[in-house]
């Protein structure tokens, strides 16, 4: 299970967005789920750079196009997890 310490080890939190978000008109539950595997495994990625090397600002730009903003983020050595608005 999770411990309260998890509240303090975010890699990123957008406080302004978090405090001003209103979910009143955010219904329409069913999500759209997009999953893209660029390569089958980490081992065959070319050029020594991976998706984890892309700058945060560029993910923010991409998510703006789909009308999502980043509320918070957690990092592990193998993946990044973003919690988004909407």
């Amino acid at each position: 299970t999770v411990d309260i310490i998890e509240l303090e080890n975010h890699s990123y939190i957008d406080h302004e967005l978090s405090s001003n978000l209103d979910s009143t008109d955010a219904f329409e539950g069913p999500e759209k789920l997009l999953e893209i595997w660029f390569y089958p495994t980490v081992q065959i990625i070319p050029n020594g750079r991976s998706l984890l090397d892309i700058e945060m600002s560029k993910w923010i730009d991409m998510l703006n196009l789909v009308k999502c903003e980043i509320l918070s983020m957690k990092k592990t050595p193998k993946m990044y997890s973003f919690l988004l608005s909407e």
Binding site: V2, S18, F27, P40, N47, R49, L52, K67, F82, L84
Partner: protein
């Protein structure tokens, strides 16, 4: 909504009237310019634009409750498929569980590209019991949540005395939790969302949750730094909805299913289970996608198994008797 990024793959799950597919041009521009990954193929689409061929693409969604409120290409499935076909070669689309006679509106839509097997340049070690070629995605999409359960996802009903976390509104530290994240943590604990995999042996759990105002909840839980499960809840009466999605490779998804149903007690839900198995050791028992799907008080309306290239897909639609 949530996004998960690995070295070699990305998962974007967005709720509401978001424009998920419109990220595709920017995403391929990013990997081309920043990572020098080139997935363009020589063939072009009808508009003489580039087509791409990454290893594998999935796009899916349950039928919308309010399709008229959707924007751009998301207003209907055929437009979404047309848009995807402008980007990818060898894509196939499916509408699963549709019953036009009963006007069943709970169907599920799937678009998937053929696996680009030429990218598998390293021989797969089939003796490795858990190598990373294995892949599972388990999704439960629920509607008609019980009133008793939906009230747990309203900010005004939160019992916050157990959280014992003091907010510091003056903090400028951008990793310091705010009210939405504190309430999200409280909802996670009070609804036992962190105990969904209670009998699964793992070493580490990382958690991020947010409680929306006035209601609603999203959470991402990471297991052993490399797997995730995510929950999104819209509790409003009349269009209540919750979704659970996980790529945790666990041998007892039936128990996971029961734990999730206990949190929401929906009257209607469908589950989908994708699995790519390449391990040699799998027995007949392990080949069963879900070991127990008899769920009181639910009745199965549809149960469909698909073989999709190197994946198997199980779809089941349940309704309260």
């Amino acid at each position: 909504s949530s996004m998960f990024v690995y070295d070699h793959r990305i998962i974007l799950k967005t709720c509401g009237t978001t424009l998920t597919l419109l990220c595709l041009p920017k995403l391929f521009e990013l990997v081309q310019n920043d990572l020098k990954w080139d997935f363009k193929v020589s063939e072009k689409n009808d508009n003489n634009e580039n087509l791409y061929s990454p290893y594998k693409v999935f796009y899916s969604r349950r039928s919308f409750m309010f399709p008229d409120k959707q924007k751009s290409v998301h207003k209907n499935w055929s437009d979404e498929v047309d848009y995807l076909n402008k980007f990818f070669i060898n894509g196939e689309s499916y509408v699963i569980g549709e019953d036009k006679i009963k006007a069943n509106k709970s169907h599920w839509n799937l678009y998937v590209t053929k696996t680009k097997k030429s990218l598998v340049t390293i021989p797969i070690d089939v003796n490795d019991s858990a190598h990373e070629h294995d892949d599972e995605t388990f999704e439960i999409l629920m509607t008609g949540l019980s009133d008793e359960k939906t009230k747990n996802f309203y900010k005004s009903n939160l019992k916050t005395q157990d959280t014992q976390y003091e907010l510091d509104s003056s903090s400028t530290n951008n990793t310091y939790a705010d009210e939405g994240h504190v309430n999200g943590y409280t909802m996670t604990k009070q609804n036992k969302i962190d105990e969904i995999y209670e009998s699964f042996k793992y070493n580490k759990m990382t958690h991020d949750a947010f409680a929306f105002s006035p209601c609603g909840y999203s959470s991402n839980v990471l297991i052993n730094d490399e797997f995730y499960y995510t929950l999104h809840v819209t509790p409003e009466n009349g269009w209540s909805y919750a979704s659970f999605e996980s790529n945790v490779q666990c041998n007892n998804n039936s128990e996971v299913l029961r734990n999730v149903l206990e949190i929401f007690k929906p009257t209607d839900f469908c589950l989908t289970f994708f699995r790519r198995k390449t391990t040699k050791k799998s027995t007949n028992e392990e080949n069963i996608l879900l070991n127990d799907t008899n769920l009181t008080p639910y009745e199965k309306l549809d149960e469909i198994v698909y073989d999709l290239d190197d994946y198997q897909l199980l779809y089941i639609h349940f309704q309260d008797r």
